[in-house]
């Protein structure tokens, strides 16, 4: 505890002394932390873990992989499924970037599992928000505000998460359908069903990934039922396979680690409503065919179409992506690669945020900027 306090003081001093500040730790999301000048990778360790309470408190620089392993030893997991763990992602970076993996489909994202925070604001103040119990409605929900804040509000020191019992067994049904349209229709029909899927992803044009998790005893029956349901929803299933054990784990690890993003491409996150998915897909298809040299824009629609992950070719301009998003009324977040600004488009609510920023970061030390801004 004393060490943690000393550490908080040291960070406060750095914050006060610097004119511009950008925290970084694992470096797994270089578009966000690229010029980071406050390296927090030794702000690492589990402060309190109480499996019986479903809570864990960690220092912000703690690697996701370390926490995931500890939770697994106790039959628990982080349902928000933080991505890029193998690349070195930390929990602080996960919160600041607001990134959740495909597993967030079932119970919710990082915003739904963060209970408490301690941070040093841009003004050098040590602030505590939320708590260490699974339910707390006292005071402003500062923990939620940190999710996706990209370091603009302060330097995260400590985080408390809610955790859940880990599914005893997992399995995935991988389908290939006749067309994108059909794949999307099956995905939406399953998303509205009571089958309680763990993950629901679409890799265009035609592949669906349906994951189930739960008690081992029930899984074979649930899988059989899912197959039936798919049969009813689609008459044109072309390919069909069941992944279990390692094959299941590997396929989702690849999704979560973005192993599918090729060299020379940058990873971008696009929040989406399922109703807008088809329009985005059509736009991207049109863009692909318009390119002189045949170039693909690899992508994956996750969380039943609530998020699109794009591998944007470096050969294509940032401007082209910005105008595509503007046309569709979407915003995006660059995760890797070089960008003039990692935020693509203007998220709603800037007027409210500006007021909050005047308290969190009165001197604008933490403002976002491209890599050249440091």
């Amino acid at each position: 505890m004393e060490a943690a306090l000393a550490r908080a003081d040291a960070i406060r001093e750095v914050v006060i002394s610097k004119a511009r500040l950008r925290p970084t730790a694992g470096g797994s999301k270089p578009a966000l932390s690229g010029w980071g000048n406050l390296v927090l990778d030794d702000l690492s360790g589990v402060l309190e873990y109480r499996p019986e309470e479903f809570t864990i408190t960690v220092l912000a620089g703690t690697p996701v992989a370390e926490v995931t392993a500890l939770l697994a030893e106790n039959g628990q997991y982080l349902p928000c499924d933080p991505p890029l763990a193998a690349a070195g992602a930390t929990l602080g970076g996960t919160v600041a970037s607001g990134l959740s993996g495909p597993g967030r489909y079932r119970y919710g994202g990082v915003r739904d599992f963060l209970l408490g925070v301690r941070l040093v604001t841009g003004g050098g103040e040590l602030v505590t928000g939320g708590g260490k119990v699974v339910k707390n409605a006292a005071g402003f929900d500062i923990p939620k505000l940190m999710v996706g804040s990209l370091g603009r509000l302060g330097v995260l020191l400590e985080l408390t998460f809610k955790v859940f019992p880990r599914p005893e067994r997992l399995a995935t049904l991988h389908l290939e359908l006749a067309s994108f349209q059909e794949a999307n229709a099956v995905m939406q029909s399953l998303a509205g069903s009571s089958l309680d899927l763990a993950c629901l992803d679409l890799t265009p044009p035609t592949d669906l990934w349906l994951r189930l998790g739960g008690l081992a005893d029930a899984l074979p029956q649930r899988l059989a039922r899912l197959e039936e349901e798919v049969g009813r929803a689609s008459s044109s299933t072309v390919g069909f396979s069941v992944l279990e054990g390692d094959a299941d784990a590997v396929s989702w690890r690849q999704a979560r680690e973005f192993d599918w993003v090729p060299e020379g491409h940058s990873l971008v996150k696009l929040p989406l409503n399922p109703a807008r998915l088809t329009r985005l897909e059509r736009k991207l298809e049109a863009l692909e065919t318009s390119l002189e040299h045949v170039q693909r824009i690899p992508r994956r629609y996750s969380v039943a179409g609530n998020v699109a992950w794009l591998a944007w070719p470096e050969a294509l301009s940032e401007k082209a992506l910005r105008s595509l998003l503007a046309d569709l009324g979407l915003t995006g977040l660059a995760i890797t690669g070089r960008w003039s600004h990692p935020q693509l488009g203007r998220p709603a609510g800037e007027a409210f945020l500006t007021r909050l920023l005047s308290v969190f970061d009165p001197e604008g030390k933490l403002s976002l900027g491209g890599q050249d801004a440091a």
Binding site: F54, G98, K135, G148, G332, A348, G349, L353
Partner: protein, 482 residues
């Protein structure tokens, strides 16, 4: 006088029938679910569309008159208690469902829509809205947003904030902003999450985009009776240790059971001192597989009677008793105060033993109904407000329970909010520096301190002494002019 000028301006905005000023008209708005407190507002307006709300807020800002937004007035922490000389903006007529996309599983509603109406509207499409506070049949979404309402299913499904994707709000100076979107995912700080639970201090929500979930296919509701409340508490730990994640885990003590029994004849076991309600939910196959595990955990927990709801009717009866427990307590006592502090689940037993001692020391009955799965206590302190000094005694006892929750590492409120009643205890939970920080945030959003002034945070000029008991805004006596 600012209020006179405001009222003159409001006359141009509202027809007479929707600008209430006569004492008899104001009476129903003088208090909310925290009935011990009453304050007479200067006026009540009944806007019928969003623009009227925006115009009203702008006028309040212009004339520096504080306002309270109000829905059905079910707040148990006095969240919608009027401000002396201020305006009540009653939002019940903004009750339209603006958009419902069953395929995308989102619904856009106005703040006056009733909580249960959302699920009712969604039901034909096999969808439902998860947050289910016990007041669901009457409470409004606007109030749910302001207080981040919970309910019996929070451990697994979260609170209101976990089910809202986007908001349109009017800030306290009349600026209208959109927060969030219609996606589960977002870019930028979670402003929706920050707005929800701000108890009206950041302004008024005009529209909310709600996330709907597919309806639960199968539930299994089990009722276990224990000879002691502590044994029921220990059974919760056993269920959690079995690796289960039930949809609900609730406990009632004898007094709460008596009340529920008298009110709705829920059929609870008559000898029980502690009653545990566990509800498994999920696909039919998953629930069938989980049930033997739950049964093993319960059978070794010392329950003297175990009952499983055989059909929807039996399940409904079990829940009717549980959800109606608060109002049922009204049969046992002329008045009561409800607390909703949270303790770490493993310290529930300790907390309950302490509460029992406090009840004996203060000679006031306490009925306990609580969301055991997330350690969210609901002690109902029984008192008779007609007896001099008894309200004050009940409040002091409530304060001791709040301090107990803080001492055990929990929170003073799990879902009812701070409101007027727990204001004095917020600095004990967070410390003065964090409280000052929250006050500065509030000032940045509402420089004139007009949005729900006097709730959650102390007024700027107030010196908050952590030792001072909560000061009611007015004694719970008859209104002047009644």
């Amino acid at each position: 006088m600012a209020i006179t000028q405001l009222l003159e301006a409001l006359v141009d905005l509202y027809p007479e029938a929707r600008l209430l000023r006569r004492p008899a008209q104001l009476l129903p708005f003088a208090s909310d679910g925290l009935t011990a407190f009453r304050v007479k507002p200067a006026a009540v307006v009944l806007p019928e569309d969003q623009q009227e709300v925006i115009d009203t807020v702008r006028l309040c800002h212009q004339y520096q008159v504080p306002f309270v937004a109000r829905g059905s007035g079910t707040s148990l922490s006095g969240g919608s208690l009027p401000i002396e000389g201020g305006l009540v903006i009653a939002l019940n007529r903004l009750n339209r469902v603006l958009d419902f996309d069953p395929d995308a599983r989102v619904m856009v509603v106005e703040p006056g829509v009733i909580n249960h109406q959302v699920s009712r509207t969604a039901a034909p499409h096999g969808l439902h809205y998860a947050p289910d506070p016990s007041s669901g049949p009457v409470c409004t979404i606007g109030g749910n947003l302001a207080f981040n309402s919970g309910g019996a299913h929070c451990l697994k499904h979260g609170m209101t904030a976990n089910h809202v994707l986007g908001l349109k709000v009017v800030l306290p100076d009349g600026e209208v902003v959109t927060l969030g979107s219609d996606s589960l995912e977002a870019v930028g700080p979670d402003l929706v999450g920050m707005f929800i639970g701000s108890e009206g201090l950041f302004g008024i929500a005009l529209e909310a985009t709600l996330r709907l979930l597919p309806k639960v296919e199968s539930t299994c509701t089990l009722l276990a009776a224990y000879h002691s409340l502590a044994a029921a508490g220990q059974a919760v730990a056993a269920v959690i240790a079995a690796g289960l994640l039930p949809g609900a885990l609730e406990i009632m003590d004898r007094l709460a059971m008596d009340a529920a029994e008298a009110a709705v004849a829920a059929g609870y076991p008559v000898e029980a001192q502690g009653l545990l309600i566990v509800e498994l939910e999920g696909t039919h196959q998953e629930v069938m597989a989980e049930f033997p595990r739950l049964r093993r955990a319960i059978d070794t927990s010392g329950a003297y009677q175990v009952r499983v709801a055989e059909n929807e009717e039996e399940r409904a009866r079990i829940w009717k008793g549980r959800k109606g427990a608060f109002s049922a307590v009204g049969r046992l006592s002329p008045d009561y105060l409800v607390q909703d502090g949270v303790v770490p689940r493993s310290r529930l037993g300790e907390a309950l033993a302490e509460i029992k001692k406090l009840s004996e020391r203060y000679r006031l009955g306490i009925a306990n109904v609580f969301h055991a799965g997330d350690g969210n206590l609901h002690p109902l302190i029984l008192f008779d407000g007609r007896r001099p000094g008894e309200l004050e005694k009940a409040e002091e006892l409530a304060g001791e329970i709040l301090r107990l929750c803080i001492r055990l590492g929990g929170s003073i409120t799990g879902e009812h909010g701070v409101g007027v009643e727990k204001r004095a205890y917020l600095p004990e939970q967070y410390g003065q520096a964090d409280l000052d920080f929250m006050m500065r945030l509030r000032r940045a959003v509402d420089p004139r301190h007009i949005a729900n002034r006097g709730k959650m945070l102390p007024l700027p000029q107030e010196q908050v002494s952590p030792a001072a008991p909560s000061q009611p805004p007015e004694p719970a006596t008859a209104l002047p002019g009644e």
